[in-house]
Amino acid sequence: MSSASQEWLAPGTTVPGLLACGLRLPDATCLSYSFDEMYPREHWEQILQQLAEAVALLAGQGLAPRRLTWTFEQGQIFLIPRADGALLAMVTQPNTEAAENVEQLAEEFFSLNPGN
């Protein structure tokens, strides 16, 4: 995991309503953060793995996603894949600042060079 990815992910993502977030790079390495003890990192990394599999499954059906939003009663999981196979995922409380900042985070993610 590059230091740029770590620097970008950690400080910029602690916004109200963000419960956990993570990056999964094309080599399957993960960088994940949990901001709520009910959303432990180990569980979040399992979910990241499942999300990566879901992206592959969707692509196999001609539905290569630009964005996935899993909506639950008490949370939303956002997944933003990049063309190189890297994935940004976030779980947020609904209708919070974090949920509404997804677009901005996605833009930054797309401009990030994982090799830095």
Partner: protein, 350 residues
């Protein structure tokens, strides 16, 4: 002169001919010529009889060779959904009871061991056969949203009026033969009224008998209308949050202007609605129904897995943004929905 009494046609299915003979003798006597008893020793034979006769009630055993009673009920439920069904079995277990009731049986009874037991069964079956479901909408709906009720009405191709109100607003949605044909909310009419009603944060609704509206203002497909209502609500909430105001619960102003440019409007390109088991209920323009069903089942499994790991609450939907389209996938225990809508105005984000 008395009106002729209706004669009920009842079919008993059991691989034990002695039991059938006993039933025939006993129920012929108790039924006093009002019950006409038919017997079949296999599900195949029963299905042949069902084709030939208009039956009121089928009473089946569970343990039968070839096609057992539960499979038989499954077929009956799909082919004859209005037919009343009961089960009589010598080996009554809770597992079988649950399976039979899930497959549409109204009664699950243990085989009697005495004439008194047969009389009790006769009374129960008579109660079932003479019971007439009441027309209209009854009962309480808990944790069921307005969208769910609209979906049920549209899927059932029924006609009704949904009256919706809260302290600020009162409105109506008219559904005719499963098509949403008109909506009004305050001064609004048409799709704008529909979206406004669907965006209400709280309130009450009631289903009323259908009466034709004074005008018809909506022509779109209900799947699209529900999706568009969800999109309008999301956009309104996001726009309000960006402006730093409390999110209003109403249609975004851009909706009406976008409706003035029909060519740019999204349209439904693919729809699949199936039962929780994956049985198709409605398929439209699906390139591969089986693959889509498998996808919905996969979504349901993953969502359930996520819920095990994190306190997310019930799964509502998965939205998939793809190039030029948007997909909404819902995967509930009783129903799964896949709708793909074109997004001709979508900007590239990658």
């Amino acid at each position: 002169m008395n009106a002729p009494t209706k004669q009920y046609q009842i079919l008993f299915v059991d691989d034990d001919p002695d039991f059938l003979a006993m039933i025939q003798d006993f129920f012929d006597t108790l039924g006093e010529k009002i019950w006409q008893i038919h017997c079949a020793t296999s599900a195949d034979q029963a299905l042949e009889l069902l084709k030939a006769r208009n039956l009121d009630l089928v009473v089946t055993d569970v343990n039968m060779p070839m096609l057992d009673g539960i499979q038989f009920l499954h077929i009956l439920n799909r082919s004859y959904p209005d037919l009343k069904k009961a089960v009589i079995t010598a080996n009554a277990t809770e597992e079988k009871r649950s399976a039979c009731l899930a497959e549409g049986a109204e009664l699950f009874i243990e085989k009697p061991r005495s004439p008194e037991g047969l009389k009790s069964i006769f009374i129960m079956l008579e109660e079932l056969i003479t019971w007439t479901p009441q027309e209209g909408f009854q009962g309480l709906l808990r944790r069921v949203g307005l969208q769910d009720v609209i979906q049920m009405e549209c899927l059932g191709r029924t006609s009704s009026i949904l009256e919706i109100h809260n302290l600020q607003l009162r409105g109506r949605i008219y559904i005719e033969d499963g098509r949403i044909i008109h909506a009004q909310a305050g001064d609004l009419a048409g799709e704008a009224a529909f979206y406004k009603l669907l965006a209400l944060a709280s309130g009450e609704f009631q289903l009323q008998p259908f009466e034709p509206p004074s005008k018809r203002t909506i022509e779109g497909q209900w799947e699209f209308l529900l999706m568009e209502a969800a999109r309008v609500h999301d956009e309104t909430t996001a726009a309000a949050a960006a402006a730093g105001v409390v999110p209003p619960r109403g249609p975004a102003p851009t909706v009406e202007s976008s409706m003035a440019v029909p060519d740019l409007r999204p349209r439904v390109e693919e729809t699949l609605i199936c039962s929780g088991n994956g049985d198709p209920l409605y398929v439209w323009q699906c390139p591969d129904r089986y693959a889509r069903t498998a996808l919905l089942q996969d979504v349901a499994q993953r969502a359930a897995f996520f819920c095990q790991l994190m306190p997310l609450g019930n799964f509502d939907r998965l939205e998939i943004q793809i190039a030029g389209s948007r997909v909404v996938a819902q995967a509930g225990a009783d129903r799964m929905v896949f709708v793909r809508v074109s997004s001709p105005t979508e900007k590239s984000t990658t």
